[in-house]
Symmetry: C2
Subunit: 429 residues, 2 copies
């Protein structure tokens, strides 16, 4: 963990370095992934069998080794502790309600010259969701990825997930049942992403691939962008808490640790105008770490990437926050709206002292798949739009074409494209 | 040019091959571009000087070699033939009006448990537009890329364009004046894209890069996706004309050639249920080619990639069209809406006999930057959304947190993330 003071000498250099260092992809991973994609493209299922044996110690031979069927998901759902089942259902219904509000409206209008113009949205035919295995297999993540796809209207929603040594996460299966996933394949890693993009003998290809994964999965998605649509390039999780002195340090400590416990490379940052609060938060983190089962990861992350920034005034916070363009920003102040109005770049913002980021991870409704690594400068969280595309349309009468066609002919001629000009002028003869 | 009949033996295999063959990126280009990006990242302006001398035979030494200033653009605008200026202004105003209708609405509501939820849209701070030099420098393309960025609210809009041997396209400068471009740099190729993404001593980096370019430019954008946002991976242009027998073959010939004249790799396809019409179109193309200044390119494209598909009934057309997922689809029939209702995958659709695709290239209003290479399955045309991003937000009262927080605690515990649970439970104590 590191302290910075905006009033200290050398602040700008130190801060600029932190902003710049939000990570790059690894060249060796890039080469390995390119080879794996080629293998899957050329050898199809045989390549999947080999990689799955090697990386997941799982043998794909019988059909039941390849797929988890709907009955298994239903059984996992039925076997859930009722309280947990209710929690998953509540989360699903709130996520569904929020994302239904994102459905875009078609446009269809006739303008002043009598030309009909518009745009129509459609869902993609098929979407793939990558679901990590092992430690990072989160049912909440499945809901957050699958529900927007289904709300968008995707007919075929395919999950791929590694099942190391054959092990299956029952919570994830129950979430798949709730979300209405159509197929689940027991394949993981970059090879699964390649299979979704190009298809194999068994696995039909999809149009869009979403979902979190390790560095290999992320790199495979990056390389296959363009062959399919992808949700985004995801990096380690980040939280930025902006807090005045009038806060319970235990609350802030828990919030910072809730990102730190995700991964050793997660980053938690506190910006405050109160050094006493900052000291109390630091102490509260040490206390909390003593009883967390995730303390090892959280401590590694906090020690390595944690940052406390002391500002003279919280007025400085929005500009610093925009430069960090963090995935999650908490505003722990009396008038959070005033600060929020001054923020431009953030994945998701949590207003006020009673809005811990974790409520957004699970149950509030907005998506928890958000841009990391300063990508909130240009990217948005996952939404129904990631599973849809827009077709524009034009419907011209002869009169409408006559009204503006000659100007288009003029432009086509100026650009040296005579067939363009001809296609209009021949209709106006 | 090739003929296919859906009723003929072997149709499915032949058609599947055509669908599959819509092109891939070249590995050697990939390696060259990766090297160029690294060079620009490490050596900044020095690398730009070297590449620009080598590829564009233009020496970047004085400031005036590097930049084209606003006064030059204004002068180019003033010097335009008045008719051409009016045509550009008409195009700009219609493009602006259409894209203003795309501006997304923010969401801000309080749900049934008293939790405030929403999403707010912001423009990116800076956008870069690549504008090709030489033959493919189109003022219409500048308008189509720049206007959505400005309508979105982008403050800093930067153009990079190669000026081979120092030559500048006056039409493009005039269009830049109309669109309100803020900076123009005389740099092209993959090196320009790298400069926009990472910044150099002179060129400030941007958040999103849009605009067409050759294979190197497209590959650079693909590789830098994630470092910046990009509009899309663009390939050769395509048109699909679906026509009944009751059409003027000259019109269809002109429409097919209007794509073919873009590039030797463009693809023009006719689907019709009338073999006599198809024969007439073929003849009309031969006739038109005799008088087009772009005949060489158009003929190469038509001979190499042109396709005429004879169907028994136009009822077959929507399914074939969706598999091709073409950039442009013309519906030259009496009831185009009925066919349009059955299409799912197309970049833009042109309804009826009086809507040549070229009217959309220049002046109708919708964007002419559209998904190619079957990417209309998952991608949309350029819009204001490409220059904006969304920040979701959550504002919970203590009562709202108390209502749903316990379910989130349950889920966090089930996922083995105790700090997540703690951040909620500590507020509910």
């Amino acid at each position: 963990m590191r302290w910075l003071r905006t009033s200290a000498e050398g602040f700008e250099n130190a801060f600029a370095r932190i902003v710049r260092n939000r990570r790059e992809s690894d060249t060796q991973v890039g080469r390995d992934v390119a080879n794996m994609i080629n293998e899957v493209r050329e050898r199809g299922d045989d390549a999947l069998v080999d990689y799955t044996a090697r990386f997941d110690h799982h043998r794909l031979s019988e059909d039941t080794d390849w797929r988890i069927d709907a009955a298994d998901c239903h059984a996992a759902y039925d076997a859930l502790d009722p309280e947990l089942r209710d929690a998953l259902e509540l989360a699903a219904s709130r996520i569904r309600a929020y994302h239904e509000g994102q459905l875009p409206e078609d446009r269809d209008y006739t303008d002043d010259i009598g030309m009909r113009l518009g745009a129509r949205w459609n869902a993609v035919d098929a979407a793939g969701l990558y679901v990590p295995g092992g430690r990072a297999a989160y049912p909440s993540s499945l809901l957050m990825n699958a529900i927007p796809a289904k709300v968008a209207g995707v007919e075929r929603l395919v999950v791929t997930t590694p099942t190391p040594k054959g092990e299956v996460n029952q919570l994830v299966l129950a979430a798949a049942h709730i979300a209405g996933v159509d197929e689940i394949w027991r394949v993981g890693g970059a090879q699964a992403v390649a299979a979704l993009a190009y298809g194999t003998e068994r696995i039909g290809k999809v149009d869009v691939i979403a979902g979190p994964g390790n560095a290999w999965v992320a790199e495979a998605k990056r390389q296959l962008y363009g062959v399919v649509g992808i949700d985004m390039v995801a990096g380690p999780s980040e939280i930025l808490v902006i807090a005045d002195g009038n806060n319970n340090p235990d609350w802030i400590a828990a919030d910072l640790l809730s990102q730190a416990e995700h991964d050793p490379t997660s980053q938690s940052i506190l910006i405050t105008d109160s050094e006493p609060l900052a000291r109390q938060v630091e102490d509260a983190i040490d206390v909390a770490l003593m009883r967390l089962s995730t303390a090892k990861t959280a401590k590694t992350s906090w020690d390595g990437h944690g940052l406390i920034m002391i500002v003279d005034s919280l007025d400085e916070a929005p500009a610093l926050s925009d430069r960090l363009a963090a995935e999650h920003v908490e505003l722990m102040v009396d008038e959070p709206q005033a600060l929020f109005d001054r923020l431009r770049h953030a994945g998701s913002v949590f207003l006020g002292r009673h809005t811990p980021e974790a409520v957004g991870d699970y149950i509030a409704g907005p998506n928890h798949v958000l841009p990391t690594g300063r990508r909130a400068r240009f990217a948005s969280g996952l939404s129904v739009l990631d599973f849809m595309k827009r077709t524009s349309f034009i419907d011209a009468s002869h009169a409408a074409l006559a009204a503006i066609g000659p100007a288009a002919v003029k432009l086509a001629e100026a650009e040296g494209l005579p067939a363009h000009a001809l296609s209009i002028s021949t209709r106006l003869k």
